[in-house]
Each structure stands twice: as structure tokens, then as C-alpha cells.
């Protein structure tokens, strides 16, 4: 099969990291908004559930959708009730970007193997 479960999972991970970046960027943009509640995307959990469920992994991965959710567990870090800590948001953003890069690189390598097998010079 040309595109197996791993490749599909990598694609979904790249997409999930993109969505998570959006959520973290929104948190940073709202760093000075009083009473703002931080949002996050748990794409790791969604991927894990899709790959470990009873359903066929490919089908589950195809139907996966990532949506940002308000992080109710975060306590207020500011006097105005905002739960955004700009330092931790920046750290999460940097870590997320690296994670996305790692997934892209693995996907790239796998595509390279396919290309080599097909005799396409890259």
C-alpha cells in the first residue's frame, strides 16, 4: 500500500500541530485580554485514541478532527483572571514547532524511500 497507517498518522500529526499552533498563537495574542481563558488542542490524545481504538486505525485517523478547547484546569496567573502565562505559552509554542518539524522530517524521509523505490530521482 502506498500510504500506510504511519504515513497517515504523520499527516494527521502535522495537521494537529498546525491547529495547536493556532491555539497557542491565540493565547499569546490575548496575553493582555482581561479574564481570557487559555485554549489548547490535545492532538496527542486524539491521535492516541484513534490508533488504539477498536476501529480500524486508518478509518479512525481519516475521520479525526482537531478542535481547540478551553483549558479549564489552568489557574489564573494574573490579577484580572486571565489564565495566560506568556512564558509558558512561548515555550509550548517552540516545543510544538519542533514537534511539527520532526513529523515533517519523518514524513519527508518516508516519501523519499517511496521515491527511490519508484526510481524517481529527487
Amino acid at each position: 500500500m502506498l500510504f500506510d497507517t504511519t504515513q497517515l498518522a504523520l499527516e494527521r500529526a502535522i495537521e494537529g500541530a498546525g491547529k495547536r499552533h493556532e491555539a497557542l498563537a491565540a493565547n499569546i495574542a490575548n496575553a493582555n485580554t482581561p479574564g481570557y481563558q487559555r485554549v489548547d488542542v490535545d492532538f496527542h490524545g486524539a491521535l492516541q485514541a484513534a490508533m488504539g481504538g477498536d476501529e480500524d486505525s486508518n478509518t479512525a485517523l481519516e475521520g479525526l478532527s482537531f478542535s481547540p478547547a478551553k483549558d479549564a484546569s489552568a489557574g489564573a496567573t494574573r490579577a484580572d483572571g486571565s489564565t495566560v502565562d506568556i512564558d509558558s505559552e512561548s515555550a509550548k509554542l517552540a516545543a510544538n514547532a519542533l514537534e511539527q518539524q520532526a513529523a515533517v522530517q519523518v514524513a519527508h524521509a518516508r516519501l523519499g524511500i517511496l521515491k527511490a523505490a519508484m526510481g524517481v530521482s529527487s
Binding site: 493556532e22 498563537a25 495574542a29 478532527s65 478542535s67 509554542l93
Partner: protein
Amino acid sequence: MSLFGGLEISASGLTAERLRMDVTAENLANAQTTRGADGQAYRRKEVVLQEAPGSFGASLSAAMGGSGNGSSGGVHVAGIVQDTTTPLKRVYDPGHPDADAQGYVSMPNVDTVTEMVDLISAQRAYEANVTAMQSAKQMFSRTLDLLR
């Protein structure tokens, strides 16, 4: 496209923080202005920030069955309000043309230290948004490299 959304969100943060810097600069520039737009002493202005509703794309995906709850479109400037709670400073200066019968002049309620702190806070938040933007750009160009 999800990463373009990230760029837009960071851009909204940049706009909001730049406006905060502009308003702070206006407050500092008018720290001694005794004749504001209404003829009274200048009153300091403040920017009210608000979480922006989801972007068009997010609303669309929510309408099409995706769970788009809690999605954010970044930050939105709700308005610029005048600070009418902090009292104006009363300075005794009988020679001033705007002095009242007792010789007191109403000076703007601008506190330079507060304004400087606001300025630094806006500047740092601006930088954080720039970093997020650069990161989004990098992520996007790496993903495009998959095509090579």
C-alpha cells in the same frame, strides 16, 4: 489552511499591541495638556482588548459539523476609553491662563510611570507575537518542503 490562520491570529495581536503603544504615546505626549478636545484637561486613554470571535473559516467548519467550539480568532480591540475615574491633578499656578478662581489648574491624570510600564508590557507582548509569527512561517515552509 490552518497555519495561515496562525499568522492571522498573531497579526491581530500585533495590531492590538501596536495600538496600545500608540495610545500610551498619546498619553505621554499629552501629560501636560490642559486643553483637551472638550476644552477640559486631557484625560488618559486606555485600550480595551477583547477575545475575537472565531474566524470565518472556523465558523464554517463548525457549521459543517466539525466541533469548532472554543476556537479563537485572536484578539480584537473593543474600544479606546477615557479614564474618568482617576482624578485630575490640581496644581496651584495662579499665573496659568487655565487657572480657576482659586488659582488652581487641573492637570491631566497621566502618571508617567504607569504609562512607561504599559509601554514595556505592550512592547514585550508585541515581540511574543512576532516570535509566534516567525514560528508559523517556519512551520509552513518546512511543510512545503515535503513537495521537493
